[in-house]
Amino acid sequence: MADLDLDQLYYAIVDGNAKAAAAVTKEAVDANIDPQTLLTDYMIPAMDEVGARFEANECFVPELLISARAMKAAMEIIRPLLLGKAVEPAGRVVIATVQGDLHDIGKNLVATMLEGGGFQIVDIGTDVSPDKLADAVQTHKPQIVALSALLTTTLPSMKRMLDRLVQDGLRAGVKVMIGGAPVTQDFADEIGADGYSDNAAGAVTLARQLVGVAA
């Protein structure tokens, strides 16, 4: 295995080549290379590079998706190995589309990018009620709650969800980040969210800032 070039894993993810990403990862695992090294030194930096290109309009949603698919192909191989180690994710995120809104594309993109950024994702779906969110926060004890909305008319649901976290005494324990087409920084400030991002790649940077993890 002396010829194994782990940069190939980085480039396979950047290029969205899932087969190559899985093959290199398998080869690396067979060569007893620490899966944590693969994740932190190659896979997460690759997704960071894709996110940076996305934010710079050098790649677009399709390229983001195929890179995420390549990341997942590699993760499938190392996840069982990571379970046996005391490896902490960058943070745990409960993610949802708010009540009254069935849209999931934006939420899924953000979840994918956050996972690529080393976060553990608990996706509780679309049209999520404040009750369901509060239950999920109590159950999963995330560091971050990420809320998405596409419809202007469902923006008030975001406020209601934050209010519910306050009401149940859960708000102090989590950071809340929000996003979606009608969402702005002003709106985030207005409802007391901790952060807002206007794109999926920026959401990773924001999440890292919120939990105090370096990129």
Binding site: G16, F60, P62, L102, T152, D198
Partner: protein, 375 residues
């Protein structure tokens, strides 16, 4: 001037009496909420607000034929799971005006394309190209010399419908996993469009514009890279616009929500020269900036930020005045940049309409009255 003459004059920068005053419709919830604010129940809003007539459409079947049978699969109370005519299984709200959530797609790869979709996109299917007395009557209406309304011909979609059939994630993968399939789908869609256009325009119909739809952008920009768009889609847009131009149809209108900054110049290059609805959004699109950037070759429709309708009369009046020089220049028909949401107060929308008629409509007496039922 009648609405047809006025539309043609505006879009060709010719002298006209005034701008058309049009709307973009309303969210399902808006009119019921306005009824609590004195909007009369059961009244057509176009009649009540005294809008100029919208264009009417001509053409024949351009989509899947035969369609998939529309079926309700599960009744979930406030939501239901249905198979749409395009084969997609969706969950949708029965009561809210929400966009359906795609659950499962019949089109996933080349096999499903060949089995279920390609046979429904035969350009030469005789059912697409009708004949007989009913068709002759339709043609007679569309070609009537004294027709006084603008007529648009449907000119299809090269990405939007395929994205709906596949879903965003799968079509994005297909672009890389099976590029020839993506190219074949785009070419097939363009072939159907061109066949139908030739059939209708060849029969002597001369619409004022052609209408395309894509909805292939979101707040962050396009849903595919401009590079691939230029390589794969632009050549087929050019085939379509060349067909339209051959019959004298020189206004090609494209409906695409979202941030279209990176795609607009490529559409213009392909001969698609009218952008709609210029959704302002948080990316702050501005029809005045579009005109500055692309000149008079790019026509515009829409571009009045619906959020300003929520900010009260002073803000509404300021925006109407700000857009007035562009309206005066021509090649631009202002409307709200999407359907009017229920957050807008009825009295503020009424003010918007009256002020638009005063400024953009020059207060002429050929404007229909506002707030007079049946006026």
């Amino acid at each position: 001037m009648n609405p047809r003459e006025r539309y043609t004059a505006v879009m060709h920068y010719q002298p006209r009496d005034r701008s058309p005053i049009m709307d973009f419709g309303f969210w399902d919830e808006t009119l019921p909420i306005w009824q609590e604010q004195c909007y009369p129940a059961g009244v057509d809003p176009d009649l009540f607000f005294g809008m100029d007539p919208q264009w009417r459409m001509c053409g024949c079947i351009m989509g899947l034929w035969p369609p998939f049978p529309g079926l309700q699969l599960v009744d979930e109370g406030e939501t239901e799971i249905v198979q749409q005519a395009d084969g997609v299984i969706v969950q949708r709200g029965k009561f809210l005006g929400s966009i359906p959530r795609h659950l499962r797609h019949t089109l996933v790869d080349r096999d499903s394309w060949n089995a279920f979709y390609k046979p429904r996109l035969r350009a030469d299917d005789p059912l697409r190209l009708p004949s007989g007395p009913a068709w002759e009557m339709q043609l007679a209406e569309w070609t009537r010399p004294d027709r006084d309304y603008p007529l648009f011909i449907e000119a299809g979609s090269l990405y939007g419908v395929a994205r709906n059939w596949f879903g965003l994630e799968r079509i994005s993968e297909i672009m890389y996993d099976d590029r020839p399939l993506f190219e074949e789908i785009v070419e097939t869609l363009a072939d159907v469009v061109i066949t139908v256009l030739e059939y209708v325009l060849g029969a002597g119909v001369r619409p004022e514009a052609a209408s395309m739809w894509e909805d292939m952008a979101y707040s962050g920009g396009p849903l595919m890279s401009p590079k691939l768009f230029k390589q794969i889609l632009v050549p087929h847009y050019k085939r379509i616009t060349a067909t339209l131009n051959k019959y004298g149809v020189d206004i090609v209108f494209l409906d695409c929500d979202g941030n279209i900054d990176l795609l607009a110049p490529l559409w213009l290059e392909a001969g698609v020269n009218t952008m709609f609805p210029i959704e302002v959004g948080k990316w702050k699109a501005d029809p005045i900036e579009f005109r500055r950037r692309y000149g008079k070759e790019m026509r515009l429709m829409g571009g009045f930020d619906k959020h300003i309708l929520m900010q009260g009369k002073d803000a509404i009046a300021r925006e109407i005045e700000r857009l007035a020089p562009l309206v005066e220049e021509g090649g631009y028909i202002p409307t709200p940049d999407h359907r009017v949401p229920p957050d807008v107060k009825f009295e503020d929308y009424l003010f918007y309409v009256k002020e638009a008629k005063r400024v953009w409509g020059k207060g002429l007496d050929n404007l229909k009255p506002t707030g007079v039922i049946g006026g």
